[in-house]
Structures are given as structure tokens and as C-alpha cells.
């Protein structure tokens, strides 16, 4: 898809023109797990889109008109409508576009996916805290906290007796959770799922999904990005290009 591996736009860049008819645009960043959610849904549903990467360490002024908080992902359609917040963008795409529905039609099953999403909600900030922790030797508390959160997810899979969080097929909730589980390897946090065998099986099953495998980030590039990002380098977002 156009733009996925393009250099990010930074301060001083010209604002992009309107979104062409028949396309939807996502403002993204190659290593952002939140934006990854939206990219996964776009891919899984086969939605024609263009990607504009944003330099999150040196944001273009015009980007704040797309999202006042200046974060990715943001969707922009050809009508100029803007949608922010990763989970909201994913749901919007599922509703607005035809083809395979990622969220269940059944109201209770849909509610269950949202309840699992709530169960997962502490993981992103724990992972961010871990990344930012200077002394990696001193992370026992964070690892323990993460393990606890993963236990909750393990319990869901145990109770449901299915491969995926929404049943025997991959669905929205799996895509919403995946980007953080993908990062465990590059962060050397695989031990946090050691006690969660069903979660490990789920991770292996996810890697076989066409959308997931098409968007997998190379571990070396990911590591390079994280190192530069922690140094606040404006080159971080384009690492590997």
C-alpha cells in the first residue's frame, strides 16, 4: 500500500492535499502499535488506502489540524472527515466498509469483545513504562505486572476453549491486542508469557494470519527505532529506510 514504507513528514513539510475519492488515508508511524491496529484492519478488510507517516519526534504543524493531540493513528476520508483513537478508527472501518465483518453481528458477542478489550487495557502503558525504564535490571515489578495482565488473557482463552479471543476465527479483538504481543520479542519480554501456554499458541496462530504477517516489523529495525526513540532522535521514525 502506498506510503507504508515512506519517509515520515516532519515540521516544515507541506500539508498533504485532500484524500482522493475511493481511498482512505491513515496518518501513521511505522513502529506505532496503536497505528498498527488500524493498518491491520485496513489490510484484513482489503480497504484501498494511503499511508502518510508522521515524524512523532518532530511533528508537522499542519498535523495538529488533523488531530489536536498530535498522535497517530488518524483516518481521513475523501469527505475530509477525521477519525482519531485507534479503537474508534478500527470500529469505523469495520462499519463503513463492506466485506468480512471483524466485529460480530451478535450484540452479546460484540460486547464480549469489548469486555476483553477492557481486560487488556493496562498492557500498553505497562509496556511503555518498561521501554522507558532506564535500568533494565530493575524491572521485576513491571514484568510481574505484565505477567498478571497476561494471566487474565490466558483465563479468557481457557474459558472460551477457542484459538482466538473471539472464537475459532480471528476477529477484531485479536487485531487490537496483537501489536503489543508482537513487541515482546524485541523487548526481550517473552518470559512474561511463559506461564500462559494458550496465549503462546495464540501468538503462533496470529503470525500465520495474512494481514499480521504482511505487516510484521523486522526485529532489528524495531530495536534500532526504540534505541533512537529513547534518545529523542528525529531520525527514529525513519529507521531502516
Amino acid at each position: 500500500m502506498s506510503g507504508l514504507s515512506a519517509r515520515s513528514l516532519a515540521k516544515g513539510s507541506a500539508p498533504p492535499g485532500p484524500v482522493p475519492e475511493g481511498l482512505i488515508r491513515v496518518y501513521s508511524m511505522r513502529f506505532c502499535p496503536f497505528a498498527k491496529r488500524t493498518l491491520l484492519v485496513l489490510k484484513a478488510k482489503g480497504i484501498r488506502h494511503e499511508v502518510i507517516n508522521i515524524n512523532l519526534k518532530n511533528k508537522p504543524e499542519w498535523f495538529f489540524k488533523k488531530n489536536p493531540s498530535g498522535v497517530v493513528p488518524v483516518l481521513e476520508n475523501s469527505k475530509g472527515q477525521l477519525i482519531c483513537e485507534s479503537a474508534i478508527t478500527c470500529e469505523y472501518l469495520d462499519e463503513a466498509y463492506p466485506g468480512k465483518k471483524l466485529l460480530p453481528e451478535d450484540p452479546y458477542e460484540k460486547a464480549c469483545q469489548k469486555m476483553v478489550f477492557e481486560l487488556f487495557s493496562k498492557v500498553p502503558s505497562l509496556v511503555t513504562s518498561f521501554i522507558r525504564r532506564q535500568n533494565k535490571e530493575d524491572c521485576a515489578d513491571l514484568k510481574e505486572d505484565l505477567q498478571k495482565e497476561f494471566s487474565k488473557l490466558e483465563e479468557v482463552l481457557t474459558n472460551k476453549k477457542t484459538t482466538f479471543f473471539g472464537g475459532n476465527s480471528l476477529s477484531m479483538i485479536d487485531y487490537l491486542i496483537w501489536p503489543w504481543l508482537e513487541r515482546l520479542e524485541v523487548l526481550e519480554l517473552n518470559e512474561c508469557v511463559d506461564h500462559a501456554p494458550k496465549l503462546k499458541l495464540w501468538m503462533a496462530a496470529m503470525r500465520k494470519d495474512p494481514a499480521v504477517s504482511a505487516l510484521l516489523i523486522d526485529v532489528k529495525a524495531h530495536k534500532g527505532f526504540i534505541d533512537l526513540y529513547l534518545q529523542n532522535s528525529p531520525e527514529a521514525c525513519d529507521y531502516g529506510l
Partner: protein
């Protein structure tokens, strides 16, 4: 209020039986703003329901089988399905029941309402902190400034959209999701936090005209009685005002 007027069940109480066919049950508490959201939706959609109030300071053991941390609101269907988190419960009701849809049909308009809810997300915690500070006779000037700022953000939306309600000219889901905290501003002692947001004041006035909002409005004296007992850690706080 039929159904609302039942004493809160506490530790040692018997677990309620299954939910009868044709009804949905809500585990609630008469003064909880989160449960209030769900009760508003039940009412607005005319959904037949029964209410079981929970004593939040002395929770029944059986309630933890309805919610892992014993939180309200929780919906229980006659098929023993449990749904929790107030926003999830409200969306479930809108999806599962016929009649008037509270969320718009258009995907972008739906997304807009969800983005508005995000914009509102700091308000519940801030109003609670103001309440606690005032009740404990502590300073809360900084909290009120922060709350005012949040209200300013909401005011901008009303200004920009130039509609009576947050979703347009008719009341819709987003209005019901926000309402419980605005109804409580007066009784919490922070009504002055909307002194500089005229659009929001007009919205409050319009909300008070809505039949559903009015049907569930809690009497100010009853609310104050509850708050006094709650802050004295009285176990009978939750039943204040019931005969």
C-alpha cells in the same frame, strides 16, 4: 420510581434467582453515575427490566460471580449472559433491543460520538475528587480549574456544532452518557464550574426537559442525605430515602 426503590443487597444476602424471560436485570446502586447511564438507556428505549441494588460498602459474596471486582453496573440476561462496563452495557442495549436507536446509524457519526466520549473521560474522576475534597473540607481550587478546562473543551464542541445536543438537534446516546455527572454538579457543590460555559448550561437545561432524564432525576435532598451518610461510612447510606 418502580424498581429503583429496593433495598441494597449486602453480604449474607441470598443470590437472586435467574432472570425471568422477557426481562433484563441490572445490578445497580441508586446514586451511582455509571449505573445511571445504563438506567437512562433502559428507560429511553422502553426496555422491560428489573433492578437489583448492591450495597457497595458491604458487597454480597455472590455478586463477585457477576463481576470479578464486584463493580456496577452489570447487566444479566435471561440466558445468564453478563455484560459490564457502563459504556459497553449501553451499547449492548442499543444493539440488542428494537425501537429508537440512540447511537446514529452513520459510521462517521457513531465514531464522532465515541470521540466525544474520549474528550469527556477526565470528568468523572475530577468531579469525584472535588466532591471528596469538599466533603473532607480540603482545598480544591486546582481541581476546579482542571474541571473547568475539561468543560471548556466540551463547550467548544457545542459552539462549533451549533446544535442543542452533542449529537445534533435530538438527544442521543452521547448526551445520556455524559448526563449523570452534570446532574450531580449541584449536589456535589461544584455547579459554579459551568459559570463560564453558557452552551453547556443551555445543554443542561435542555437535558432537564427530556422525559427520560426527568423520570430518573434524583431529588436533591435525598442525594444530599445519601452523601452525608456515605461520608460517615454508614452502611445504610445506599438505602437513604427508601421507606
Amino acid at each position: 420510581m418502580p424498581g429503583d426503590g429496593t433495598k441494597a443487597l449486602a453480604k449474607g444476602s441470598c443470590a437472586p434467582g435467574p432472570v425471568p424471560e422477557g426481562l433484563i436485570r441490572i445490578y445497580s446502586m441508586r446514586f451511582c453515575p455509571y449505573s445511571h447511564r445504563t438506567r437512562l438507556v433502559l428507560r429511553a428505549k422502553g426496555i422491560r427490566h428489573e433492578i437489583i441494588n448492591i450495597n457497595l460498602k458491604n458487597k454480597p459474596e455472590w455478586f463477585f460471580s457477576k463481576h470479578p471486582f464486584g463493580q456496577i453496573p452489570v447487566l444479566e440476561t435471561s440466558q445468564c449472559q453478563l455484560i459490564y462496563e457502563s459504556v459497553i452495557a449501553c451499547e449492548y442495549l442499543d444493539d440488542a433491543y428494537p425501537g429508537r436507536k440512540l447511537y446514529p446509524c452513520d459510521p462517521y457519526e457513531r465514531a464522532r460520538q465515541k470521540m466525544l466520549l474520549e474528550l469527556f473521560c477526565k470528568v468523572p474522576q475530577l468531579t469525584k475528587e472535588c466532591l471528596v475534597a469538599l466533603r473532607c473540607r480540603r482545598e480544591c481550587a486546582d481541581l476546579k480549574i482542571a474541571l473547568r478546562q475539561e468543560f471548556c473543551n466540551l463547550e467548544k464542541i457545542l459552539d462549533y456544532e451549533n446544535t442543542t445536543f452533542f449529537g445534533g438537534d435530538c438527544i442521543s446516546m452521547i448526551d445520556y452518557l455524559l448526563w449523570p455527572w452534570f446532574e450531580r454538579l449541584d449536589v456535589y457543590g461544584i455547579a459554579d464550574c459551568v459559570s463560564h460555559t453558557p452552551g453547556l448550561r443551555l445543554w443542561i437545561a435542555a437535558m432537564k426537559q427530556d422525559a427520560t432524564v426527568r423520570a430518573l432525576l434524583t431529588d436533591k435532598c435525598v442525594f444530599q442525605g445519601y452523601l452525608s451518610l456515605y461520608f460517615r461510612n454508614s452502611p445504610s447510606a445506599f438505602d437513604y430515602g427508601l421507606c
